[in-house]
Subunit: 372 residues, 4 copies
């Protein structure tokens, strides 16, 4: 009797034609095929070999987007910017094309006359169709769309429409952006009752990652941080989206929360996010930390982080999709503060220091393994 084909797991990306999504799809294929090492994927380290996560080769990608640039073309453009290695887009063209075929139009677009309920239902139908057509065990919905401005007038912002669709389609949900998503009051009851695991929000990829180890260092050493100032320079879609002060405010709230939580106080200083199109997807983040040492001596630490935003985010997206898929499989539901390691603004109850978050993540991995 032939062995059954392994179960396949869906990853439904909101913003499926963006840089992060394209990098995740291309990268998953490249790593699964052994073309590239799994650098940046924590779920591929030894600590997770027993966690029974869905193998990379069993992930199936689809998603919503309001743009219509084909994924292979998007991947070529990313290669020209140095985000993807040259030749990779060609090597994984089949996988990019397969994912491209599973992308459905997002919304609402200008002129769209559907009301909230109609949009949610349409999105949920797309997701259900994806799961059914591909014979998937389940699909995890991950929001990697551009940051939207904070909620305003009581209507559901697009990120929350998609989150509601995920609940309706019975899918675990990850919010990798600072957008509202499942954090909308109108969705709270449904999220709680849904029996689905979810996690968020706002992926911790660069400056905030650093802050989550430096803040605890100052606190543990009893050094008094007087001012923590930061500037982020980035281009790409994210740079443009964050040029909207309301979007930037949402992002900065997460950045500064990490400081408050790890330092125990809110130091002076602010954080800028500047749109610099010339930098493309390459982000530079400068932090200047003024702190007092013994007897009031004035000291400083400066950090400059230069990274490719999509390459930092994509492996975390793959990690989260796998972890939530397995959590769903084992019957876990509700918010997962054990995944705080990945987020600027994690679910309540999580520690703020990266080291402790990592310890919780390892525990979570053991929990997933144990329930196998």
């Amino acid at each position: 009797m032939p062995a059954a084909a392994p179960a396949r797991t869906g990853v439904w990306l909101i913003g499926a034609r963006g840089s992060v999504a394209t990098t995740a799809v291309a990268g998953c294929a490249a790593v699964a095929a052994g073309l590239r090492p799994a650098t940046g994927m924590v779920t591929e380290t030894d600590a997770f070999t027993e966690a029974a996560l869905p193998p990379l080769g069993t992930l199936v990608f689809g998603g919503h987007d309001t743009l219509d640039c084909p994924l292979p073309k998007r991947a070529e453009a990313l290669a020209d910017q140095g985000v993807l290695p040259h030749g990779l887009a060609d090597a994984v063209r089949a996988e990019l094309e397969a994912a491209d075929r599973e992308i459905r139009p997002g919304g609402p677009l200008p002129g769209d006359t559907r009301d909230e309920e109609e949009l949610i239902e349409a999105f949920a139908a797309d997701i259900r169709a994806f799961v059914r057509a591909n014979g998937l065990a389940r699909a995890v919905v991950v929001n990697v769309a551009s940051t939207e401005a904070g909620p305003g007038d009581g209507t559901l912002p697009p990120s929350s429409l998609y989150a509601a669709a995920a609940l309706r389609a019975d899918c675990p949900y990850v919010n990798f952006t600072p957008s509202t998503g499942l954090h909308h009051p109108a969705l709270a009851a449904e999220a709680e009752a849904g029996g689905l695991p979810y996690a968020g929000r706002d992926g911790k990829t660069g400056q905030t990652l650093l802050r989550s180890v430096l803040g605890p260092m100052f606190a543990q050493r009893a050094l008094t941080v007087r001012a923590w100032s930061g500037t982020n320079l980035l281009g790409g879609g994210d740079g443009a989206a964050l040029a909207d002060p309301r979007a930037a405010a949402a992002k900065n709230a997460g950045k500064e929360r990490v400081l408050a939580d790890t330092l125990g106080t809110v130091p002076e200083g602010g954080t800028h996010i500047d749109d610099v199109p010339a930098l493309g997807d390459w982000k530079t983040a400068w932090d200047h930390i003024a702190f007092d040492g013994f007897l009031g001596s004035r000291m400083t630490l400066q950090t400059t982080w230069q990274g490719c935003d999509s390459a930092l985010a994509a492996p975390l997206v793959l990690d989260l999709a796998r972890l939530l898929a397995r959590a769903h499989e084992t019957g876990l539901a509700g918010p997962r503060p054990e995944l705080a390691f990945y987020f600027k603004d994690p679910d309540p109850g999580a520690p703020a220091a990266l080291g402790e978050q990592y310890a919780q993540l390892l525990s979570f991995g053991r929990l997933l393994a144990g329930e196998r």
Copy 2:
């Protein structure tokens, strides 16, 4: 019946007229008198209120040094360099003079004809006399002298002579420098048999402190560090001492050990220590870390740490003296890897990540409290 005077604890500093020692003596007095906050002293945080550590006001300072500049004058010079706040030397002049009276000539000086045994015995006699004359419950010996070149010809280097004297005088011992101290094979048996707690070596005050949180961050995120390069610029006595390549080698070994231990591999790149007298006691450390992200994307992190070496070291010296004094009081003996938080090259068995070291330190504090 009047209350008994509280027990007093000695802190015997090898290098007692150096910047670190002077800052420790002046700072202890200033903090004990409420003139300055206890910034940088972990033992003054809430976590240690139950640990029954000797209060700062009960510490009595003395030590060995081969120089003879009076401590009050040394403190004035440090104030001129901005290491100590102006006016502080005057405010704690009595305490500086008291410590100054307890400093004995170190050695061996050129022309000194005493052999190793005679030197050890002379040093031990000085320490015993200090304890007796001041009616101390005990004294902790702390090496804060300039880094000496690595051991060479089988003879005991000065740092080991002092360490042997500490054992002989029945004193707990801390090696805050990369010098050999108690790590000499000739002292191993005696250290083990002595029933004394000891800790070391090489205080972790700046660049290595940073590395002990950044290294784990890269490892936990599965980011591949390809090269970690560093340059330290500093003047003062330490800059001059470390201009000796053999002394610098001892220091660098500690710096690079932290990388190897936290990253799991030894990345490319080296570390320079440059003597720049113009900088005085103010140290600038630049680190450049080249790492690979997902799909081999090339990223970098740079850090610039600008701090005052003595102000970084002095509160740690006070912490260590208090912790080892209390450990001795409770009967603990042998190496204390629980104090790895403070050292570049801690005693075996300690974790390498600062967060875990901090957790162990807190446990140690609870242990000390429990044995009260």
Copy 3:
């Protein structure tokens, strides 16, 4: 017959109790007395020995301010922040007190019912009285007050009232700030007719100084600057004043003009000025320059400038007062683009590269010498 006492020259400071003014008064006294070297004063270099500038010891200080903190106390506060060396305030107390006695209330303060004409006349009367009472050959008026928001409703902003008063009192005028000063259309005719030399505006002390040498470097090497982004962190009065976006806009216009003038294009990127009170008068300016090299290779330069704003500005203020006093003596009138070396936004006709500005300054020095 006794030799005549040397002529004395007045320096009338608008903002006479501010950090820059206090540093200029104290520093002039210290350098004149030989207590400190003339670091940062270009007019004390060999190139100006023949220029017949008024000796530092013959300068007499006075000015307007709306605050009333005595200069000696202000100097003590600056010493506590590390802006002035300790002990200096005491050493030059007599000179600080003398200047303090010559400071008159500025305005208009809230509730002041005087109209523009009355204010100008009152200020001019103060200046004339200062010149007469001290038997001065002349006085140079220098605006070192906090940056004011850009001009708005057609009324004269305070900086222009003071500038008009300088004209009326027949005094050369320097605008060391980005405020309007003499650049107000209502003052144009009077400035031209006045027969007085004047110069401005906005002292070039840190980030813009750097840009005035780096911009030409990129241009001369035919390297294409794609984006030039900057962040300034500073506290003190200037930090607070520049937290007003309109004041910051005035300052940034000067900063970006230097780039446009030296690069020939306006690159992407903006400049932030952040008020960080914890930094006091110590300013940190970070610049990130993304440029293209041969064949489109992407390169970057980053600079971090850490300086004390008042200590950077004060020697330039003294330079300018001396140069304009001598220019007045030799009969020069009108705008002095030869002093572009000192300004972000110099008078028309000046080159933008610091090297060329320096060459013009040297020529100007020879001109002043020749007309002796």
Copy 4:
């Protein structure tokens, strides 16, 4: 009657298979064909349109090298490292192959029994044959080989053998490296008598370029530089060559000469060159400058330059070849201090500040135009 074909000019590269040479050959072809802008080439700016320099399309490349990797393959490898844009090697394959055919074996290789005279004659014969076979008007010899250790035992180092061959073949000579080249005493008389223009040495591409504008800035502002420290991290062939302390010493001498010449004093501090293979051809240079401002205030400037070494060097190599070819055509001979703009260690008589060097270069361009 058909127009005569334009004269063609040879560029004979010592180290013709290295990164700089490969980039120069590929880049020249790309710019000549209009595929890429001439970023970084000063001779392509408007200031040189009248200078009658040989057009890029008329340059013919050849050279010596001891390696045998074909240029097209070398170009592919550079593209993989991000030094050359992807696709460029293919687009200019014909030109790379043409240059490849003109590369002759260098020497002496191990086991080579030829004496100095034989080597010089062999090299000169290669160059003469190149000129003759290609019907060139002239050829300029440019040394872009790896830095060799300083001269030792009186024998001619390889760079001097090649320089002697250039003289013998009647070719203008450029030394773009810190190697000895024409600076050997044994070649002095011949160089002087040769009637050939020559220039050198050691191209100024990054850290020293910066120093040549920052040094003058400090000097012109009368700010006292107390210490100037630097660290260079680079991989590639140059990184490996400079890991030899003697080669690094040669390079550093040039770097520090610029400081001494522009500051008028030699500040404290040294410069490190570290071989970090992981960085490939991408160089990071960090400088830390401690300077005193007014009244002794302690300030610092830090710069971090991140550039691609070959992309910085190649356009300067093309500039120099064209300028010396035209100088030769107009009959100019001897050292050309007017080209100091390009060198760390220029010919005697040149100014040290980049701005003045640029002015001299422009004058030189006018001279070349005038003699047309």
